[in-house]
Amino acid sequence: MRRNNNVRAPESQKPLKIDIAENPEDLGAMINIEINEKKVSVPMGTTILQACRQNQVHIPTLCHHDDLCIAGVCRVCVVEVEGMKTLQAACSFPITSPIKIKTTSPRVRRARKNILDLLLSEHYGECYACVRNNNCELQALAKEYGVDHYNFGHIEKPKFRVDNSSYAVVRDMNKCILCKRCVRTCIDLQEVGVLEAINRGEATYIGTFFDKPLADVICINCGQCINRCPTGALHANDPRDEIWAAIDDPTKHVIIQTAPSPRAAIGEEFGLEPGHSLTGEMNTALRRIGFDAVFDTNFAADLTVMEEGTELLLRLHKLLVEGNTDVAIPQFTSCSPGWVKYLEHFYPDFINHLSSAKSPQQMFGAVLKTFYPKIKNIDPANIVTVAVMPCAAKKFECNRPEMTDSGFKDIDYGLTTRELAQMIKEAGIYLPELPKSEFDDPFGDASGAGLIFGATGGVMEAALRTVLELVTGEKIENIFENAEIKAVRGFEGIRYAEIPITKVGPVPDLISHLFKDFKWLEGVTLKVAVAHGTANAKKVLEDIKNGGKFSECQFIEFMACPGGCLGGGGQPIPTNAEIRRKRAEAIYKEERTLNYRKSHENPKLIRLYNEFLTDGPCGSISYKLLHTTYTKRGSFIV
């Protein structure tokens, strides 16, 4: 049977659709309520939880998450509403009449404590043996309510086998409190729909299709469920032990590359407010831990821009000059492995639209086990490559069988931001206090274009900077103020921009073997789009299927995670729109300070093309090492 592609949360999990009045002056737009006898005024349709938060009244929550639709199932947020016999869940109760709310009455306090005791009675495990120790919402709530013993007992034996089949996500349902955040993340936020509650009553658990291991269902490995799990029931598949072993092995040359997003978020793991970039400090920490070389994934991002941008020009040339209508346009970005797997499963007929360029992580891996050992005179068999990524899916990506073009496994381990923070702590280092240091050569320079890969719209902006400059011969700063292409920035789910090419310049040397001139692009309007979160990707893909405006785009950036990489499944917990916005600000702020803002200006990159990838972007060497193929997975596991 065909899979129903129309997965969304059932009505029971959706918030009441009340349009909050735009103009607070409108009649009935504001409602006067009382919270703990304090009179306040809130817009119609505000939930009790929102109203309380706006008025500095704390309400405990577990199933509620700002990014997700409403569940109203954990019941720890119950409050008293005058005139109602039962307590009401603050998270799901929309205010439509002038009610009086009590948030700490004896009935409320007793109920919350009892509910917490019930949850603890079924929550297997001890806090000190848990990946979420000190960052667990259930643990925090137990502390808030002064739990010092188990009123209703405590489960002594695990009920479920831990599912660590997936390279990305480990599921330990013994710690699950059935808040269904993961279900809502998967079904509603990402519209993938791998997880659902199975059975009923006390037999309820969150499971997969036919209870298959997570590796054998159509999970895209985005890890968004991990970021929203309140407990340790979900975590990433952690390679720290193997990495420590490699570091401790003197015969191994252990290299680490760091993606743009972890540096903008890792401070959160050390108690800093979101929005502090710790690039230099992290480099120092990595060397102190014992990595033999510290490289910047942004360098590989520059490489990706060159390859992907050239590929786009080649595709357009095929269509516009050679008249080849079989060429797949729009070209889709391929940096996000969660997005790639989403497309392979849900829209397999579209995989020829994916850029054949590998993601920066994998391009770097291929270079690090070919070019790098040659110039360093190291046996590539002894090189261990680690990639610090904001991502759970990168763990899957580096294990894809096709990612061995160097003759070895191009990237040995994908490490999340959280796991790296853990390693730094294990090494006895307090990251924010460290002195700064630079990345290692021969890849020591990276452009700002590579850095902004971390934010949604960043890959598009980076590619546009290079493509437009190469094609028009005009400095990008003369087209966009400060080289910032604002139209593709921001957090709106889907963004669209049109950029007319009014003049063309001579073909630059680097790609002069591919194109005689760019006259054929004169007068063409470049139409581009950006989508983040697979739910938004789905909208764009459906539009393309139906021949809508996105089908006329030439290039579309897709990211599996809301906010792009900075909101990835490997980033510090918690996450919400505000935290993601601050991480983006940190990235864009750092970008303005860099020497190079465009990938093709990166001198170390030009050296790589001159000395190693000698037949240029999309040449035979780069096709062998830096490009890949995809699999039509459909509803099946291939």
Partner: protein, 401 residues
Amino acid sequence: MESGKTKRSGTVIFSAYERGAAIKKALSLSRNDILFELKNSGLKGRGGAGFPTATKWMLTAAAVSDKKYLICNADEGEPGTFKDRVLLIEYPELVFDAMVVGGYTIGADEGIVYLRGEYEYLIDSLNDYLEEMRKDNLLGENILGKNGFNFDIKIFLGEGAYVCGEETALIESLEGQRGEARNRPPYPVNTGYLGKPTCVNNVETLATISHIIVKGSEWYKQFGSDKSKGTKLFSISGDCERPGVYELEWGTKISEVLELVGAKDAKAVQVGGASGICLNSSQFDRTLAYEDIPTGGSIIIFNKSRNMLKVLKNFMEFFVEESCGQCTPCRIGNVKLLEGIKMIEENKFTFKQINKLKELAETMKIASKCGLGQSSPNPFLSILENFKDEIFNHSGGGSYA
């Protein structure tokens, strides 16, 4: 199983009725007149929650939408309740006629009967009956010549989950989702089946409406007590000589019921099914009425040979099994109450533990998401209270084997 058409006697529901009469009468009235009659009758929902029916109809009628639904809740799943089955087998005209009247009143053109999974054997006869109605233009387009009034009824078979008797879980189930109660508000009268305004009425509520429409609210109000008007069907079972479905006026005493059905040595009466309360003999002069003991109509009688702790255990096992599992108090709370019963059974408990469980039961009543968890502690609390001598002093009768 009931066989054929036995003639029952009763003042309202089991009184004489001619098929289609309510539809004919209703179509001659304005919607406001119908709503007035209903309001004047004081009819409350007969499923057990007792929400004023007229208010429900008015709210659905007032909701603005291009499409509305009227759903008959025939998911009769409360242990000890079987009155709706009798109505559907013997008096389908009362139920379906009122659905048509409801459609006319609230502006719905589609009626759905959500039939309990275990009642699958009724489907063919009900569909035959609906077909007859269509032939006589009691269903279909321009019903009985009323231009523009179209209404039809289809039957949907449930899968046997108790929680689907809760109206929002019923709607979820109809939509093909897990049977789990929704957050309320919004209420189904505004956002119901497929997001459209939906009125969900119990089988018996509908059957009563047909009579009220034909004979008028003043006639109906002459029956019953001061504050609870009319009559109620009671499904009476357990230790008695004449179990069955009885139509009684509101205000009837428990002792009168016991007399009627020949319950000689009753020790306990569970009113309202598993989720109801259990009375001991000192409470048999209490009355069945909204002002005293409101009920959906299940009465289970236990005589002196019954062990009340086992009775309670049976009820709690039912709730552990039937909790949908979405909210914490109901999912885990019922398990803890059952564990407490087992502790008493094995004589391994402290009163501190029992009191903690009673406090938990109170929390479940106010903090659970839907009526299931809000009412499942009722037997726990009432049996432990009303039969504490028997349960805690092993001399009270019955054994713990």
